[in-house]
C-alpha cells in the first residue's frame, strides 16, 4: 500500500495513504482533543462532519487551521497540534460551545460521562467569555417512551443524525432550522414518538452530552422495592453481564453475572431471574415455528412464508412495522424473551408463588432502550397490567447499584433463583449478532434430524460483518441462513430478498451494531472498538463455560412445558408467548 | 423553427437579424460611422423632412453603408429646410439645405461615397447635440 510521510509535533510519522491527521497523530501517541468526531472502526461507524472545530491543528503553509479529523495526510506535511494559536482557538471554540450550553452539570444525567464536560476539564476552562445574559438556543424537551431529547444540550456533533440515517436508515433525525437555532430533530419538528423512530437508542449511545438520554426509571424501581405489598421480580438480559462491569471500572469483557445477581438481591429484589431462561423458551417456540414452516415448505405448501425472520429485537419489530407493513406475516410471531419472561412470570410463577398478578412487579434489566417501549405495548398487558412493569438499561442498573452504596467489585458471586434462572449457553449468545440463529440452529437441527449435533459451535454464523449468510446441512436438507445487524443492513437484506438476490430460509436481525452487546442501553463505548470486541468475546466465553448449551435441554424449560404450556405452539403458548404486528406506516 | 445545424446556418440567422439590429450597433459606437442628422422640427417636417429621412435610411441599407441616421430638432435654418447634417468619421460636419429625395441620394452617392461636395452647403455656425 502507498504510504506518506509527515511530521506531527516534530515527530515523523509514516502512514498509509488516505489516513487522516487525527488518526496519524494517534499512531505516535498524540491524542488531539475532539468532540464531534467518532470512529468506531470495528463496526464501521464513522462521524466526521468537521463541525465542532475542536480538533483543529496548524498545518504549515495553510492560511487557516485544519480540522485534523477530516484532513488527509499528504507527503511532507508539517503539523503542529499545540501551538499557542491552536490552543487559543480550541479553547475559544469550546468556550463558545459552553456559552450555549446549560450549566446544570451537577444534576445532568450525563454528568461524569459527558464528553463535553471531559473536554472542559482537559482544556482547563475556568471562565466563559461572553456577554452577560448571552442568548441560549432552546428547543422544547421531547419525552418518548424510551428516549428524552433535551436539545438545549445539543452541540450539533451530528452523531445521532449519522447513525439514524446512514447506519440505521431510519431517518427519524436530521438537522432542522438554521444558524444559532439549528438543532437535530424529527422531520416537521414532530415529537420522536410520532416519528419513524424505532427507539433503538443508538443516538443515545453515541451522544456526547446530555442531549439524548434514556427515560430513567430507577426511582420508580426503588419505589417498587420499598412497597411491602409487592413482590418484585427482576430479569437480566444476556448482554448485560458482559458490560455492566465497565461501569465500575472493570475491564471491558469482564463477566460479572454472579456479582450482578448479588447486587440485585442485595438491593431487595425478591427473585433474581435470568432473561436467558426466556431466551431458551423463545428458541423452543421460534425454532418450532421455523421447523413447521420449513416442513410445510418442503411438502410443497405454496402459502408458507419464508424466510422466517426473528422477532426478539424490539427496535427491529418497530422498524418493519414502519417500513415493511406489507410483510407483517413474515417475521416469527414469537414474543421477545423479555415479554415471554413477563408473561410466564405473571401467570405460571405467580400461580406457583400464590400471589396475584397485580402484586407482582416485573423489572427487566436490558442493554436496550426499545425494551422500554416494548413493555408498554398494549398487546403485552392484561387488563391494563403490563407483563413487564419497568425495563431499565444496563446504565440505569449501574446508577441503582451506586446509589445503593454497593461496592460492586468486591461482591461475592451468587446464583440466579429457580425456576426462571436456569439457562443454557444457547440463551447467552442471544446477546450478540448471530447468536439467536445459532441457538435456534442447535435446537432445530436436533429436533429436525433426530440426531445429536456433531458440533455445537457454528463458527460460520459468528462475526461482526454487517450481512452474513451461511448454509447449514440438516442431514441432507440445506438450510440457508441470513444474519444482519444494524437496521440499514436489515433493509438491504430485505430488499435483496424481494429482488431475489438472496434465497434464505431463516434470518436473524438485530437493530444495534454488534447486536445487544452494542445496544442503546449499554455502558457508553465512547467510540472505542475494543470495548465492543471484548463484550463479543465474553459472550462466547460464557456460552462455552455453560454445562448445557442447547435450549431444548434446559431442565426448567422442559418442566415448564410439562407443567404448564404443553408443547411449543400449543394453544396456551400462542396465547402467552406469541404476538401480532401492526402497520405503523399507514396508521 | 428550423434547427441550426452548422456555423453557416448560424451566420445566416445573424445576417437576417443584423440589419434589424444595425441601428443599435451603430448608435453604440457612433464615432465609427457616418452620422447623418435630419432636422425634424415642425418646419422640417412641413418641408418634407420625413420623406428625406426615409430615403436616406433605405438607401443606406440598400448600399450597405456604415452610417447612422438620426433626427434632430430645428437647426435654425428654417429657410433652407429640409436640412441634413453629415459628419464623416474624423471630419467636420457639413450641412446641406433644401434636401429633397434626389439630393438625398446624391449626398450618399457623391459626398459620402466619394467625398465630392454638392451645392447648397450651409456654413456651420452652431453645435448640434
Amino acid at each position: 500500500m502507498d504510504t506518506v510521510k509527515l511530521t506531527i509535533d516534530n515527530k515523523e510519522v509514516v502512514v498509509s495513504k488516505g489516513t487522516t491527521v487525527h488518526e496519524a497523530a494517534k499512531q505516535v501517541g498524540i491524542h488531539i482533543p475532539k468532540l464531534c468526531y467518532m470512529n468506531l472502526e470495528l463496526l464501521g461507524l464513522e462521524n466526521k462532519p468537521a463541525g465542532c472545530r475542536i480538533c483543529v491543528v496548524e498545518q504549515e503553509g495553510r492560511r487557516n487551521l485544519a480540522p485534523s479529523c477530516s484532513t488527509t495526510c499528504t507527503e511532507g506535511m508539517v503539523i503542529k497540534t499545540n501551538t499557542p494559536r491552536v490552543l487559543n482557538a480550541r479553547k475559544t471554540v469550546l468556550e463558545l460551545l459552553l456559552s450555549d450550553h446549560p450549566k446544570d452539570c451537577l444534576i445532568c444525567p450525563k454528568s461524569g460521562r459527558c464528553e463535553l464536560q471531559d473536554l472542559a476539564v482537559q482544556l482547563g476552562i475556568r471562565e466563559i467569555h461572553s456577554v452577560e445574559n448571552a442568548e441560549m438556543s432552546t428547543y422544547r424537551k421531547d419525552h418518548s417512551p424510551s428516549i428524552i431529547r433535551d436539545m438545549d444540550k445539543c452541540v450539533m456533533c451530528r452523531r445521532c443524525e449519522m447513525i439514524c440515517n446512514n447506519v440505521q436508515t431510519v431517518g427519524a433525525l436530521s438537522a432542522v432550522n438554521r444558524g444559532f437555532m439549528s438543532v437535530v430533530a424529527p422531520a416537521f419538528e414532530q415529537d420522536l414518538k410520532d416519528s419513524p423512530c424505532t427507539f433503538c437508542g443508538q443516538c443515545v449511545a453515541v451522544c456526547p452530552t446530555g442531549a439524548l438520554t434514556e427515560v430513567d426509571q430507577v426511582q420508580k424501581v426503588i419505589r417498587a422495592l420499598t412497597d411491602k405489598t409487592k413482590t418484585v421480580v427482576v430479569q437480566t438480559a444476556p448482554a448485560v453481564r458482559v458490560a455492566l462491569g465497565e461501569e465500575f471500572g472493570m475491564a471491558p469483557g469482564t463477566i460479572v453475572t454472579g456479582k450482578m445477581v448479588a447486587a440485585l438481591r442485595g438491593m431487595g429484589f425478591k427473585y433474581v431471574f435470568d432473561t436467558d431462561f426466556a431466551a431458551d423458551l423463545t428458541i423452543m417456540e421460534e425454532g418450532t415455528e421455523l421447523l413447521d414452516r420449513i416442513g410445510r415448505y418442503l411438502k410443497g405448501d405454496k402459502e408458507v412464508k419464508l424466510p422466517i425472520l426473528t422477532s426478539c429485537c424490539p427496535a427491529w419489530v418497530n422498524f418493519f412495522e414502519h417500513n415493511y407493513p406489507d410483510m407483517l406475516d413474515v417475521p416469527s410471531t414469537a414474543r421477545s424473551p423479555q415479554q415471554m419472561f413477563g408473561s410466564i412470570a405473571k401467570t405460571y410463577l405467580a400461580d406457583k408463588l400464590g400471589i396475584k398478578r397485580e402484586d407482582m412487579i416485573v423489572v427487566s434489566v436490558m442493554p436496550c432502550l426499545a425494551k422500554k417501549y416494548e413493555c408498554q405495548r398494549d398487546e403485552f398487558k392484561v387488563d391494563g397490567n403490563p407483563d413487564v412493569d419497568y425495563a431499565i438499561s444496563t446504565r440505569e442498573l449501574a446508577h441503582l447499584i451506586r446509589e445503593a452504596n454497593i461496592d460492586f467489585k468486591t461482591l461475592p458471586d451468587q446464583d440466579f433463583d429457580k425456576p426462571m434462572g436456569e439457562s443454557t449457553g444457547a440463551a447467552v449468545i442471544f446477546g450478540t449478532t448471530g447468536g439467536v440463529i445459532e441457538a435456534a440452529t442447535r435446537t432445530a437441527y436436533e429436533v429436525f434430524t433426530g440426531n445429536k449435533l456433531p458440533r455445537i459451535d457454528f463458527q460460520e454464523l459468528r462475526g461482526l460483518e454487517g450481512i452474513r449468510t451461511a448454509t447449514v446441512d440438516f442431514n441432507g436438507t440445506k438450510i440457508n441462513i441470513g444474519i444482519a445487524h444494524k437496521l440499514g443492513n436489515a433493509r438491504k437484506l430485505l430488499d435483496g430478498i424481494r429482488s431475489g438476490l438472496y434465497n434464505l430460509h431463516a434470518i436473524e436481525i438485530m437493530a444495534c451494531p454488534g447486536g445487544c452487546i452494542g445496544g442503546g442501553g449499554q455502558p457508553l463505548h465512547h467510540g472505542k472498538s475494543d470495548v465492543i470486541q471484548a463484550r463479543f468475546d465474553a459472550i462466547y466465553r460464557e456460552d462455552a463455560a455453560k454445562p448445557i448449551r442447547k435450549s431444548h435441554e434446559n431442565p426448567d424449560i422442559i418442566k415448564l412445558y410439562e407443567e404448564f404450556l404443553g408443547k411449543p405452539l400449543s394453544e396456551k403458548s400462542h396465547h402467552l408467548l406469541h404476538t401480532h404486528y401492526f402497520d405503523k406506516k399507514n396508521k | 423553427m428550423n434547427k441550426i445545424k452548422s456555423l453557416n446556418d448560424l451566420r445566416k440567422i445573424k445576417q437576417d437579424v443584423e440589419q434589424k439590429m444595425d441601428l443599435r450597433e451603430k448608435s453604440d459606437n457612433p464615432d465609427r460611422y457616418v452620422q447623418i442628422k435630419v432636422a425634424m422640427a415642425t418646419c422640417g417636417i412641413a418641408a418634407g423632412a420625413r420623406e428625406v429621412m426615409n430615403t436616406l435610411i433605405e438607401k443606406i441599407a440598400q448600399d450597405k453603408i456604415d452610417a447612422v441616421v438620426t433626427q434632430t430638432g430645428c437647426m435654425g435654418y428654417c429657410h433652407a429646410e429640409p436640412t441634413v447634417e453629415v459628419r464623416k468619421p474624423g471630419a467636420e460636419p457639413v450641412v446641406f439645405g433644401h434636401v429633397d429625395r434626389e439630393k438625398a441620394l446624391a449626398i450618399i452617392d457623391k459626398y459620402i461615397k466619394t467625398g465630392e461636395l454638392l451645392e447648397g452647403i450651409i456654413p456651420v455656425n452652431y453645435q448640434t447635440a
Binding site: P49, A50, G51, C52, R53, I54, V56, N64, L65, P67, S70, T72, R85, A89, T92, L96, S99, S130, V131, A134, M156, S174, A175, R178, G179, F180, M181, S182 | M1, K3, K5, S6, L7, L10, I13, K14, D16, V17, Q19, K20, M21, L23, R24, S27, P30, V38, M40, A41, T42, G44, I45, M53, I57, A61, V68, V69, Q71, T72, G73, A129
Partner: protein, 601 residues
C-alpha cells in the same frame, strides 16, 4: 422586414419593472399606433441598464437619448415630441449632478464613461426573450468556434491564458478549475451555474440572467464540451422569478434551434440544461452546500477536499461557476484571450461588475476594468456622496468583506489588493457610507446578516457570530467595555481561523476591518458612551443651544418624558437622565436650537 428608424429600448429588469416599465412599453406602443408611427419606431424590452437609481429608463436610438425616471404617462410625450418631431423631452433627460446640466447622450454620462461592458455587453441592448437578437450579436458564435476549431484541451487553454478568475467571491482561476474537472474521468460529469446570488445589495447575476440569458447557456455548453459533460444545471434562487422565466424561455429557444440537445451544430457535442431552485440561503452560494442542496439534502458545506471537480453533484466530477464568470466566456473566445488579458491588472484580468449602493448619487450596476481605483468608482461613476456629505468608508465584498477608508481610495481594485487591505472582491457588492454612518453599527448590520444566514453546522460560525453580534449590540447600547473590544478581536480571529466554509471564515471581516480602521469610534462608544456618527440611538445626546433657544416651550410640551425644563422666554435644558432620545424635540424646534453634537459634551 420593416426598416425601423428608431428603437426605443425600455428596461425590463426587475427594478424598473417594479416601477411599471411594462406599462410604459404598452403606452409607447399605443401612442406609436395612434400617430401611425408603428413602422417607424420599435419598442424593445431589454435587460437592466444598470443605472437603477434613475429608473425606469427608456433609451432612444440611434441618438442615444437616455430618459430617466420615466412614468407611464410620459410615453405619449416621448412619442409626440421625440419620435415624431425629433425634439428631446428635456425634463426627462438625466441631469449631471455636478454641472447641473441635462445630458442627453448616455455616452457622455459620468456613470457610463469609465465602464467597459463585457459581462453586461448585451444587457440593456438586446431583447433577452429573442434568441435572434443574441445571435445577431455574435451569440453562439463562440460555441461554434470552439466546436469547429478547438479540442477541449485547446479550448480550456484559451480560458487559462485569458487569466479569468471566478467572479463569485474566491477568485479561483476558471481555466484551472475546468482543467481539473476535465482530467477526472467519469461516466457523467456536470456543469453547474451558481445563480444563488445572496450578498445583500448585489444583483449582477440576476441582471445578467434577465438581460442576457443566452450568454450563460452558451458558456455552460462550452464548458460542457471542455470538461466532457453533457448535463448542465442552473441553481437559481426561487426569489428571482423574472430571471427564471427569461432563462426558461432562452433554454426553450436554444432547444428549438438545436443549440441545446444532441449533436450541437453538427458536432459530437451534446448538452442540455435543467434549472434547480434554491430557497435563497446565503450559504448555498458555497459550492459544496449548493451541490448538497441540489441533491435534496440540507444546504450545508462539507470539507474540501474532495473538491466538486473530483466528487460533486451525485458524487460525479462537477464544475461550478458563477453567472458573471460564465458571461465572460463567449466574449473571450470571440475576441481572443490576449484581448481579455490586456484589460485589468497583473493577476486580475478583465472587468468586474459591481452593485453600487449606499450613500452615493448613482446607485446601480456598473462594469469596470480591474485596476480601476475606488476613487474613480465612487466619485466619477458613482457621482460622489449624496447630499454633499463626507465620504467615510466603502464596504466591498458584502458580508464577507471589509470596510475601507479614505486611505484606500487610490488602491487599484483587484482580487489580491482587496484581500491585502482586509476586504475582498466577493461577488461585487459595494456599499458607500458617509459621515452619518456609525462603523460599529455597520459591523453589527453585517453580523446580523451572517447570524441569519449561518447554516449552523460548525460551532465558530453558529455560536461565534451570534456572540460577535451580541458584543456589538452591547457596544452600540453604550454598555460595552474595553475588554469587550479585546474579546471582539480574539473571537473574530478565531472564527476566521476555524470556521468550516468561506461564509464563516470571512464573516468577521466587517468587524476586523472596522476595528482596524475605526478604532477610535469603538473606543468612543465604550469609554465615553458616545457615538461620533450620532447613529446609535441609545448614545445620542440632545443639547439645547442657549443662545439660539428663545424659550418658546414647544419642546417641553412635545417631550414624552418631561425631560425638558425651562420657563417661557428662558433657555431650556434637557435632563439627560430622563431623555429617551426619541427626537421629538428636535423636530418641533423652529429655531434650530436643539442639536446632536458630534463629540460628547
Amino acid at each position: 422586414m420593416a426598416q425601423y428608424k428608431m428603437h426605443l429600448l425600455v428596461c425590463g429588469g426587475t427594478g424598473c419593472r417594479s416601477s411599471e416599465s411594462d406599462l410604459i412599453i404598452e403606452n409607447l406602443q399605443h401612442s406609436l399606433r395612434e400617430k401611425g408611427l408603428e413602422n417607424d419606431a420599435q419598442v424593445i424590452k431589454t435587460g437592466c441598464f444598470g443605472f437603477c437609481e434613475q429608473g425606469p429608463i427608456v433609451k432612444v436610438l440611434p441618438d442615444n437619448t437616455f430618459y430617466t425616471g420615466v412614468k407611464p404617462a410620459d410615453a405619449a410625450e416621448i412619442v409626440a415630441e421625440h419620435v415624431l418631431k425629433g425634439r428631446k423631452v428635456e425634463r426627462l433627460l438625466y441631469k449631471d449632478p455636478e454641472k447641473q446640466m441635462a445630458v442627453s447622450d448616455s455616452k457622455h454620462m459620468g456613470f457610463y464613461r469609465k465602464q467597459i461592458r463585457i459581462a453586461l455587453r448585451n444587457c440593456g441592448f438586446i431583447d433577452p426573450e429573442n434568441i435572434d437578437e443574441y445571435i445577431a450579436r455574435d451569440g453562439y458564435a463562440a460555441l461554434a468556434k470552439v466546436l469547429e476549431e478547438m479540442s477541449p484541451e485547446q479550448a480550456i487553454d484559451v480560458i487559462k491564458q485569458s487569466g479569468l478568475r471566478g467572479r463569485g467571491g474566491g477568485g479561483f482561476p476558471t481555466g484551472l478549475k475546468w482543467e481539473i474537472a476535465g482530467k477526472n474521468k467519469a461516466d457523467q460529469k456536470y456543469v453547474v451555474c451558481n445563480a444563488d446570488e445572496g450578498d445583500p445589495g448585489a444583483f449582477m447575476d440576476r441582471s445578467i440572467l434577465e438581460g442576457d440569458p443566452h450568454s450563460i447557456i452558451e458558456a455552460m455548453s462550452i464548458c460542457g464540451y471542455c470538461i466532457g459533460a453533457t448535463k448542465g444545471l442552473v441553481y437559481i434562487r426561487a426569489e428571482y422569478p423574472l430571471a427564471i422565466k427569461r432563462l426558461q424561455i432562452a433554454i426553450e429557444q436554444a432547444r428549438n434551434y438545436g443549440l441545446l440537445g444532441e449533436n450541437i451544430l453538427g458536432s459530437k457535442h451534446s448538452f442540455d440544461i435543467e434549472l434547480r431552485y434554491g430557497a435563497g440561503a446565503f450559504v448555498c452560494g458555497e459550492e459544496t452546500a449548493l451541490i448538497h442542496s441540489m441533491e435534496g439534502k440540507r444546504g450545508e458545506p462539507t470539507v474540501k477536499p474532495p473538491f466538486p471537480a473530483e466528487s460533486g453533484y451525485l458524487e460525479k466530477p462537477t464544475n461550478v461557476n458563477n453567472v458573471e464568470t460564465l458571461a465572460n466566456i463567449p466574449a473571450i473566445y470571440l475576441r481572443g484571450h490576449e484581448w481579455f488579458a490586456s484589460i485589468g491588472t497583473a493577476k486580475s484580468k478583465g472587468t468586474k461588475v459591481f452593485a453600487l449602493a449606499g450613500k452615493i448619487n448613482n446607485v446601480g450596476l456598473i462594469e469596470v476594468p480591474m485596476g480601476i481605483t475606488l476613487r474613480e468608482v465612487i466619485f466619477e461613476i458613482g457621482g460622489g456622496i449624496k447630499d454633499g456629505k463626507k465620504f467615510k468608508a466603502v464596504q466591498t465584498g458584502g458580508p464577507s468583506g471589509g470596510c475601507l477608508t479614505e486611505k484606500h481610495l487610490d488602491t487599484p481594485i483587484d482580487f489580491d489588493n482587496l484581500l491585502a487591505v482586509g476586504s475582498m472582491m466577493g461577488s461585487g457588492g459595494m456599499i458607500v457610507m458617509d459621515e452619518d454612518d456609525c462603523m460599529v453599527a455597520v459591523a453589527k448590520f453585517y453580523l446580523e446578516f451572517t447570524v441569519e444566514e449561518s447554516c449552523g453546522k460548525c460551532a465558530p460560525c453558529r455560536i461565534g457570530n451570534k456572540r460577535l453580534h451580541e458584543l456589538l449590540d452591547k457596544i452600540t447600547l453604550g454598555k460595552g467595555t474595553e475588554e469587550d473590544i479585546e474579546q471582539l478581536r480574539n473571537l473574530s480571529v478565531v472564527i476566521k481561523d476555524t470556521a468550516l466554509c468561506g461564509l464563516g471564515q470571512t464573516s468577521p471581516n466587517p468587524v476586523l476591518s472596522t476595528l482596524d480602521n475605526f478604532a477610535d469610534e469603538y473606543l468612543a462608544h465604550v469609554r465615553d458612551q458616545h457615538c461620533p456618527a450620532g447613529q446609535c440611538k441609545a448614545l445620542r445626546q440632545y443639547l439645547i443651544l442657549a443662545d439660539k433657544c428663545v424659550g418658546c416651550t414647544a419642546c417641553t410640551k412635545v417631550c414624552p418624558t418631561g425631560a425638558i425644563a425651562g420657563e417661557k422666554r428662558q433657555a431650556h435644558l434637557i435632563d439627560q437622565a430622563k431623555c429617551i432620545r426619541c427626537g421629538a424635540c428636535i423636530e418641533k424646534c423652529k429655531f434650530s436650537a436643539i442639536i446632536i453634537p458630534s463629540t460628547k459634551i
